[in-house]
Chain length 86, copies 2
């Protein structure tokens, strides 16, 4: 995904602008920002009284949960492959 | 990881308490909370002037980025397996 240069783009997340700098393509950065925005809106819809800070922290909690689950899937798949090779 | 019941536990993330309810084990919820807390402290260390909200949003951005990368790895591995079977 990297094109070898630092990209600096401005994205809108939950009504606030953020400047994101990274090696990734602008498309990747925009996709990530859209996913965060979407998750924040989902959680806010279910919990309308939350402050933006709590909402953002719970979005991070939610995402790390998904990450840990995905990592478990990946490790399981790697173990399956290892066993197939034995 | 689920033991079939809803767990409700209080965790501390970046000096603030959050009540997390989920099907996951208390250990899983605590691990996830610790990972969020750690990521927030890492980003805060590099950007000490950020507000807690911006810090939490950038933590979510960072995590979704990791998630997307991991998903690409998983898909690559699944494709490799598919090709091996063909």
């Amino acid at each position: 995904m990297s094109d070898g240069q630092r990209n600096k783009i401005t994205v809108d997340i939950y009504g606030q602008q953020y400047v994101i700098v990274g090696d990734e393509s602008s498309n990747h950065i925009r996709l990530v920002a859209e996913m965060v925005d979407e998750k924040m809106r989902e959680i806010s819809f279910k919990n309308p009284s939350l402050s933006t800070t709590k909402l953002a922290v719970l979005t991070a909690v939610n995402t790390i949960h998904d990450y840990v689950k995905l990592k478990e899937d990946l490790e399981q798949l790697q173990n399956d492959i290892k066993q197939l090779k034995e």
